[in-house]
């Protein structure tokens, strides 16, 4: 993150209104304008300092009828870890049976975020 003064434009996604935000990072301070409500400010702050995303993907299942298992992170994962998580997901090869919610990768890179199964397969 560039610690100097730096204005970024973004659209708030917390509610469907989609306020256009201007976000400036000045040393440690984050200034947000354009938001109609405080949730927008919170969103902008997180988005600019530590963006996170819920990741959904599929991994290999050792099952003839269902070769792929849908999986997801059980919480938003910091942006910078996403590609590495995906690499790990595509290396997985799991036997059945599996239940929705089964933890497949625990506490990825110490973030506290788990990868869980998103479907039950017999």
């Amino acid at each position: 993150m560039n610690p100097n003064k730096n204005t970024k434009e973004m659209i708030c996604i917390v509610c469907p209104v989609g306020c256009h935000l201007q976000v400036t990072v000045d040393k440690d301070e984050v200034k947000v304008t354009g938001n109609r409500c405080p949730r927008g400010e919170e969103y902008a702050r997180e988005e600019i300092l530590a963006p996170k995303r819920v990741v959904t993907a599929t991994c290999r299942l050792e099952n003839e009828q269902h070769p792929r298992l849908p999986v997801k992170t059980d919480a938003p994962l910091p942006f910078e870890h996403i590609n590495e998580l995906l690499d790990r997901v595509y290396e997985l090869s799991l036997p059945t049976p599996i239940k929705t919610g089964d933890i497949l990768i625990e506490d990825f890179k110490g973030t506290g975020v788990n990868l869980v199964a998103s479907r039950s397969i017999e």
Binding site: M10, C15, V17, T58, P70
Partner: protein, 422 residues
Amino acid sequence: MRTEQIDTLVIGGGAAGMSAAATVSAAGFTTALVEREDELGGVLLQCIHNGFGLHEFKEELTGPEYAERWVRNIESSEVKVFCGTTIMEMSLLEDGRKECFGYSPEYGVLKFVTKTVVLAMGCRERNRGNVMIPGTRPAGVYTAGLAQRLVNMNGYIPGKDVVIVGSGDIGLIMARRMQWVGSTVHAVVEIQPYPSGLTRNISQCLNDFKIPLYLSHVVSKIYGKERVEAVDITPLENGVPNHDKTFQITCDTLLLSVGLIPENELSKQVGIELNSLTNGPTVDSMLMTSIEGVFSAGNVLHVHDLVDFVSAEARLAGENVIEYLKGKRPERELSIKPGANIRYVNPTRINPDAESDIYMRPLVVSNNARIQLQVNGEVVKRQKKPHVQPSEMIKLKITPKIFQDIEITPDSKVEVTLQDEP
């Protein structure tokens, strides 16, 4: 030939079908649920992303998780499920019942003789032929839904360098998905001057990956002898393509997300009247079609955006099937029409003596909207909406209380309108 005599046949085991079947069966009526795939769930099974269930379950679920909740409901119900079975024919018997033939590898041809039918067949995707993109016909052109199925259910990645036509949610979700499986999406091309999908998806599916979005542009030609090699992209100026400004993108895959069409071939076959505004059956306040005892809900009735609304609408249809089977009909119905800034309303008739939901789509985008229900020009209900756009369906509750203080006759003019809040 095996015959099933039942009270209700639900055609389609996706979100709508499962909700309708569970509802009717819970009231004690014999219900069969027929699904052509080998498992229940419909298109939800391939929608591995999240964002489902916020209304229905107060949780954010993925498509498969949402489907699983409903499958559990069905499994613990008395619904007779027939998977791998495709209804091919429907006809009306003299006694008012319907006769439907389903083909199944397991059972052969199954004859269903039923008092009521719920049509829940969902929709299909508009394809290249419908939008008539000129050029060659190489391999590498897919609808976004087909690509989604191949990637998420089979693990097959259709191509490496992708251009997506259409900025609706399906196209946007697939943009992200293709990037996450190692392909590169070079552009999303949108004919309208504004994106069709949710802002959240523009942000998380395009901006996150720096995928350019070309608004007011069209793919004007496809190149490639055996496999796609490139596409021409042309800007629209005042709605007209300006070919002087056409540019080319090298790619091997074109994904089309250009609209959904309710799958009403079975409905047409049996002569059900369709509403040209929705491409689905015209339905009354009971969500009943022009054929007695045949109901409809979900994407086959009109294309939805939120699966939660599908489940709610199908539940409503189920409740109406129960009323119908008990011999109850609305005492009176009023015709309801789309008014200012509303594209369509479903159903097109309402029962002023019962509580119900109506669904509609606006024609415009507004961040400060007011929806009004008017009877003969008098406003009987208003609802504020902080944000509306054509690609987001609106649900409005109708209660008998609304009509209490006014005079209604069968000719009363009922309209839904939308305008900016003053």
